[in-house]
Symmetry: C2
DNA sequence: TTCGTATTTCGTCGTTTAACGAACAAGGTT
DNA sequence: AACCTTGTTCGTTAAACGACGAAATACGAA
């Protein structure tokens, strides 16, 4: 279920690593999803359906965004029953964060313009 | 040429902030593009068409990925003329990096389960 | 000037995404 | 038991993405 169509002639380890980073980035590749994470940062406590009204999209659309964030591991949903309590999973950003740190500390060659 | 279709009824400041983060994340939301950045990290010097053979996709497809990375500001292309010299622009990751740092340092509520 | 090399643009095709409303699921409340 | 509240799933639609090959660009070299 986690296996995609593998590139077949590439080194598996590298591909996996790239995929992991890309998948987290992709999950954050939509303003609504960034806003959801932002919201969970502000109200550090978990939240229910307030997210729906916070970002101003239809409930079904918001649910889909939450699903994507859940699938990526960035957030966790705890069912409290009429509603669902969401919270961040800070560890999930690790791979992407490490990658970006490496990029930000890279020394560019010589022609910076 | 850099102007997209603006959202028009939203508060510009907030949207811009979320959009900026999301746009960088989106640019990194594909393994091939992460691999390109990775490659530029390893060979700290700029590269021409070697990227094409490095990632194993068609030249036209690779060109498109490079365009997306250029548009996002993550990389810079210097024309040397038969070819193009690419290099990283580490500053571009700033907004996303700051955001992820905030996330990674967030203290989750109480139910770490 | 003609040729070659590296890259981009174009047109196409199939897949995925984003968005919505409607319908459904699942318990708590009255 | 009938209802309410919240959240997800489904079906649809339009737009965007990803990939490719073919054609076009744009210079440097021969």
């Amino acid at each position: 279920m986690k296996v995609k169509t593998v590139v077949s002639q590439q080194d598996a380890a590298v591909v996996t690593d790239l995929d992991r980073i890309a998948r987290i980035a992709k999950a954050l590749g939509h303003p609504a999803r960034v806003q959801i994470v932002q919201t969970l940062l502000n109200r550090s406590t978990c939240i229910g359906c307030d997210i729906v009204e916070e970002i101003g999209l239809a409930a079904s659309t918001t649910s889909e965004h939450l699903r994507i964030l859940k699938d990526s591991g960035l957030i966790i949903g705890e069912i409290v029953r009429p509603r669902v309590c969401y919270s961040l999973n800070p560890d999930a950003v690790g791979p992407l964060l490490d990658f970006l740190n490496t990029v930000s500390h890279a020394d560019v060659p010589e022609f910076p313009e």
